[in-house]
């Protein structure tokens, strides 16, 4: 049974005995609202006539990207190319991961050279995943411009990388925020374990 659904912004919601205490910050309605807002911001920020492409960073970024694409349809009615990027091979801690590194497929089957690429991920913390994604993306060509959209920005940067569009920004000492999505976890939630 999923936790924390439909309770919105409630503090201190202990789920069940023997489970870790989880605080649900935002639920499905808030996430949908945030995504609609981000889509609007993206659409307005793009220069007129721009060719937008949306690429999601595996795993949850992939599904957020798909949701954003649906919301961006009004801005580019003849379709928005979508791709998915697996950053495993570009991580700076690949060697340390050892056998835990699991490679999945990257799929960008359109040229990016004249596109405005929006990279999408669920959370940005240190910025290392995004750096890896930018390196990976560079293998596919030179995009006209690259923008970063994340659902949650937790400022704990180890690199000078900032999102262009975000749903929420948490406080530095808020702890490890976790995003769950229906497509991967069965529920939409932003949680604080």
């Amino acid at each position: 049974m999923p936790r924390g659904v439909g309770l919105g912004r409630l503090a201190g919601y202990p789920a069940r005995a023997k489970e870790k205490l989880v605080q649900v910050l935002y639920g499905k309605p808030e996430i949908d609202q945030a995504l609609r807002r981000m889509a609007r911001q993206i659409g307005e920020a793009m220069p007129p006539g721009a060719d937008i492409a949306v690429i999601g960073i595996r795993s949850r970024g992939e599904f957020l990207a798909q949701r954003l694409i649906r919301l961006l349809e009004t801005y580019q009615p003849n379709g928005i190319p979508s791709g998915v990027l697996d950053i495993t091979l570009y991580r700076d801690d690949l060697a340390e991961m050892g056998p835990a590194a699991v490679l999945r497929e990257t799929l960008i089957d359109f040229p990016i050279s004249d596109k405005y690429v929006v990279l999408v991920d669920d959370v940005i913390y240190t910025g290392r995943s995004v750096r890896a994604a930018l390196t990976a993306l560079a293998e596919f060509g030179r995009a006209k411009a690259t923008r970063l959209a994340v659902l949650v920005d937790r400022p704990a940067r180890e690199l000078p990388i900032q999102p262009d569009f975000f749903g929420w920004r948490t406080q530095p000492n808020d702890g490890l925020v976790e995003v769950k999505l229906e497509e991967t976890d069965g529920v939409d939630a932003v949680e604080l374990p």
């Binding site: 049974m1 999923p2 936790r3 789920a15 069940r16 005995a17 023997k18 489970e19 870790k20 960073i57 595996r58 795993s59 949850r60 970024g61 992939e62 599904f63 798909q66 998915v84 697996d86 950053i87 495993t88 091979l89 570009y90 991580r91 690949l94 060697a95 340390e96 991961m97 050892g98 056998p99 835990a100 590194a101 699991v102 490679l103 999945r104 497929e105 990257t106 799929l107 991920d121 669920d122 959370v123 995943s129 390196t135 293998e139 596919f140 060509g141 976790e178 995003v179 229906e182 497509e183 991967t184 976890d185 069965g186 529920v187």
Partner: protein
């Protein structure tokens, strides 16, 4: 699909997802670390016999991830950057060696080639000494092909490098079996429940042995076909069915893998002539007519046109021979990547 239980942090099952090529329905946190034990922890790939089905599937899935690299304009990823891969081919094979070479280069590794054709192998030096010399140069992964069965297992005991077996005598040729399985899965969508025939000189074939293990572990039914002198009954102990009448077997098969007939077998008089062999066991257009319409015809190469495989069949729509070569690259990239990852935490 598990129900979340009270004892575990709830990981509710994923609902059916939109079909994206290559995606798998495992739940992951966004750092890319999967839950549970890593699927691959081996520093060497010595054979298929010792692998679990889960490990084999993991190699194939990883290969899917690498297959895309070959479609890019810059066909490189930094996975093995700074690592050195050495090909030690005591028994040379240009096509397997170049396939491994290219795979290593696509992973950004530095590649060294030692093969018997050139003078790069010292005369009279034992393979153990050669391997240890190679290791002393700072090589991380050694791809070994040797004419003695068990050579890879033997060297894995002598050195600390990762060892990938590219063929040890008549024993195993794991990457060939894996790329064959990948090709079958790509073509048919699955391997479980398929009927696969391997035809030819089974007794002397490392490809046959590796394939028998690989396909069985993935749930296929394997039949080995050939003359009684080249397909002894003993292969039933490996779980395969033994047949000597090719025509009888053909109509049931989903996949037919034709093996190359070697001239040496003719010299040792294991069958009287190539002519008779082709008449009994060659894949001709007539035989193809009696197979299932969507049968997959495979061959590890190089082909003896007109002997085990007729030209029209080799070039026809059911043939996957060129796909096998392409897939071989992705599979070998996956193997090099996985053994390197397994070894990297140990260092």
């Amino acid at each position: 699909m598990k129900e979340a239980k009270t004892r575990e942090p709830a990981t509710p099952a994923a609902p059916p997802k939109p079909k994206v090529k290559g995606s798998r329905s495992t739940s992951r946190v966004s750092t890319g670390r999967p839950k549970g034990r890593p699927a691959w922890h081996r520093q060497h790939l010595l054979g298929i016999e010792e692998l679990t089905p889960r490990e084999i599937v993991h190699i194939l899935d990883t290969a899917e991830g690498f297959a895309e690299v070959s479609t890019r304009s810059i066909k490189k990823v930094p996975a093995l950057r700074g690592k050195v891969v050495a090909n030690l081919f005591i028994e040379d094979s240009t096509r397997t060696r170049t396939s491994f070479s290219l795979a290593a280069q696509r992973l950004s590794a530095d590649v060294l080639d030692f093969y018997s054709q050139g003078s790069s192998l010292s005369k009279g030096e034992s393979v153990r000494d050669t391997a240890r010399n190679v290791e002393a140069m700072g090589v991380d992964i050694m791809v070994l092909r040797h004419s003695a069965a068990g050579a890879a297992h033997y060297l894995a005991r002598c050195v600390n490098m990762c060892i990938v077996n590219a063929g040890d005598g008549q024993h195993e040729h794991p990457t060939q079996a894996l790329l064959d399985a990948y090709t079958i899965r790509e073509n048919k969508g699955r391997i479980e429940g398929l009927k696969v025939a391997i035809v030819g000189d089974i007794a002397h074939s490392r490809v046959a042995r590796s394939s028998i293990w690989c396909l069985q572990k993935l749930g296929a039914e394997v039949t080995v076909v050939g003359p009684t002198t080249l397909v002894p009954k003993g292969f039933t102990s490996m779980g395969a069915r033994v047949a000597h009448d090719f025509d009888e077997v053909i109509p049931d098969m989903d996949v037919i893998n034709m093996l190359r007939v070697q001239g040496e077998r003719l010299e040792s008089q294991l069958f009287p002539s190539l002519h008779e062999y082709t008449w009994l066991f060659g894949m001709t257009p007539e035989r193809l007519q009696r197979a299932k319409p969507d049968v997959l015809i495979m061959h590890p190469g190089p082909i003896n046109r007109g002997i085990e495989l007729a030209s029209e069949v080799a070039d026809g729509p059911q043939s996957s021979i060129l796909r096998q070569v392409t897939n071989g690259l992705a599979v070998r990239m996956a193997v090099l990547f996985l053994v390197n990852q397994a070894a990297s935490t140990g260092r």
